[in-house]
Amino acid sequence: MEGRPTDGDLFARAQRGNEAAYEEIVQRYQQVAFRTAYVITGSAAEAEDAAQEGFVKAYRALATFRPGAEPRPWLLRIVANEARNRVRSAGRRHQLELRVAERFRPGDAAPSPEAAAVAAEDHTWLLGLVNQLSDEDRLVISSRYLLELSGEETAAALGIPEGTVKSRLSRALARLRRRVEEGAGA
């Protein structure tokens, strides 16, 4: 059975100058790269530019990719770098407005319309609280939970040492928890 090439194969071919292999790499990682850039910049247009530029720069830096290394943190570091540069040069970050999707799921066996409505309301409310966090808190929580990045990838996306991610995340969670409790008690 012909499997699809592994990331390692693709990187090895791209390092030899194979542009088609690199296109495949971009295809695989464009979603997580774009979303990471979106969380950093708060703007889909900026995120698109940052991700595109980041992938072009990563291609030029392919020689520095160590065979066998994890490609995601390597790529995310370069794309996130690009996204942060854009935020810095613009002098401000767009207000990130993540939204909860409105979905119709005709086939879903929802527990009950009321329960579904309560769940949707809960998601919207919690996401609203996440949106209101400071940039630093929102970024670390979004990276870890909403983008589902690993510790190493979160460090790459935030441009901080991996050892710092845990403490920053636990502080951010504590602050979010306080807001949740205040909101629930109100």
Partner: protein, 264 residues
């Protein structure tokens, strides 16, 4: 009251419900851009570019050294880079050094004092107790230096510490805000150098033996930053929670680790 796990659980559930903006189709566009911009397949232009810089740096150093070398024999020995940098003690009698402060000649920035340097940077400048106060202190601020500046402590030779090449310098300790990315600099070290991970007072360290010429780290603004190793000697790099400390000198690993362990 929500438990810790409960909040994390709710965030995990939230993940599936996020309405992300549609991911643009980047693969084709990126490929078109690299095809248009790169002369043929971009075979490591980045790599070559950095090495070109490093090569220029080496040539400049060589030119400067040759200018002060008294004899043709000495010039011939200089041309062999390995001889220069690894067998310093076997070189002919050192030629007279140009006058002026040691660090000034190495392009370390502006001469200053420890106190003044401390007032210009945000991190606590560490000094090795085993070497005592530095003979010279330099600070390099942006745009030449990294975003939050860089401080270099210069130590002349002293009993037990050789001078590195003919720089007149025995040990250089460079400190800057940033983090180490081994993927980046490990790959760029070149042949004849080996990288070994070590621990220094609970921090991650990297012992590079050989003749490293360039070093990469991620500076305080998250940018990759390339620096030329001033002495091209064995080097110990320490990632000290946000500060990258570099100890260069004609040192053994034990000596370098002793200096590092006494930093405070």
């Amino acid at each position: 009251m929500p438990e810790a796990a409960d909040l994390e659980q709710r965030l995990v559930l939230l993940r599936a419900e996020i309405d992300w903006p549609a991911t643009p189709e980047l693969a084709g566009r990126v490929r078109a851009r690299i095809a248009a911009s790169a002369p043929a397949p971009a075979r490591r232009p980045w790599f070559q570019h950095r090495w070109a810089l490093a090569a220029v740096a080496v040539l400049v150093v060589l030119a400067a050294l040759i200018a002060y070398t008294p004899s043709r024999e000495a010039i011939a020995s200089w041309i062999n880079l390995h001889t220069i940098f690894t067998r310093v003690n076997q070189l002919p009698t050192p030629s007279p050094l140009p006058s002026g402060p040691l660090g000034k000649r190495l392009g370390l920035g502006d001469p200053t004092t420890l106190d003044q340097a401390q007032s210009k940077v945000s991190w606590h400048i560490v000094v090795p107790a085993s070497l005592g106060r530095p003979d010279e202190v330099y600070v390099q601020l942006p745009p030449e230096g990294p975003p939050q500046g860089e401080v270099t402590l210069v130590y002349k030779s002293r009993p037990g510490l050789k001078t590195a090449g003919e720089t007149g310098v025995a040990v250089l300790i460079t400190e800057a805000n940033g983090t180490v990315d081994t993927q980046m600099f490990g790959k760029m070290l070149g042949e004849g150098t080996t990288l070994e991970e070590v621990a220094v007072n609970g921090h991650k360290g990297y012992w590079i033996s050989g003749q490293p010429h360039i070093f990469f780290f991620i500076d305080a603004s998250g940018q990759f930053r390339m620096e030329t190793m001033r002495l091209a000697t064995n080097t110990l790099i320490i990632d000290d929670n946000g500060t990258v400390i570099r100890i260069e000198g004609d040192l053994t690993k034990t000596q370098a680790l002793e200096i590092a362990a006494s930093l405070s």
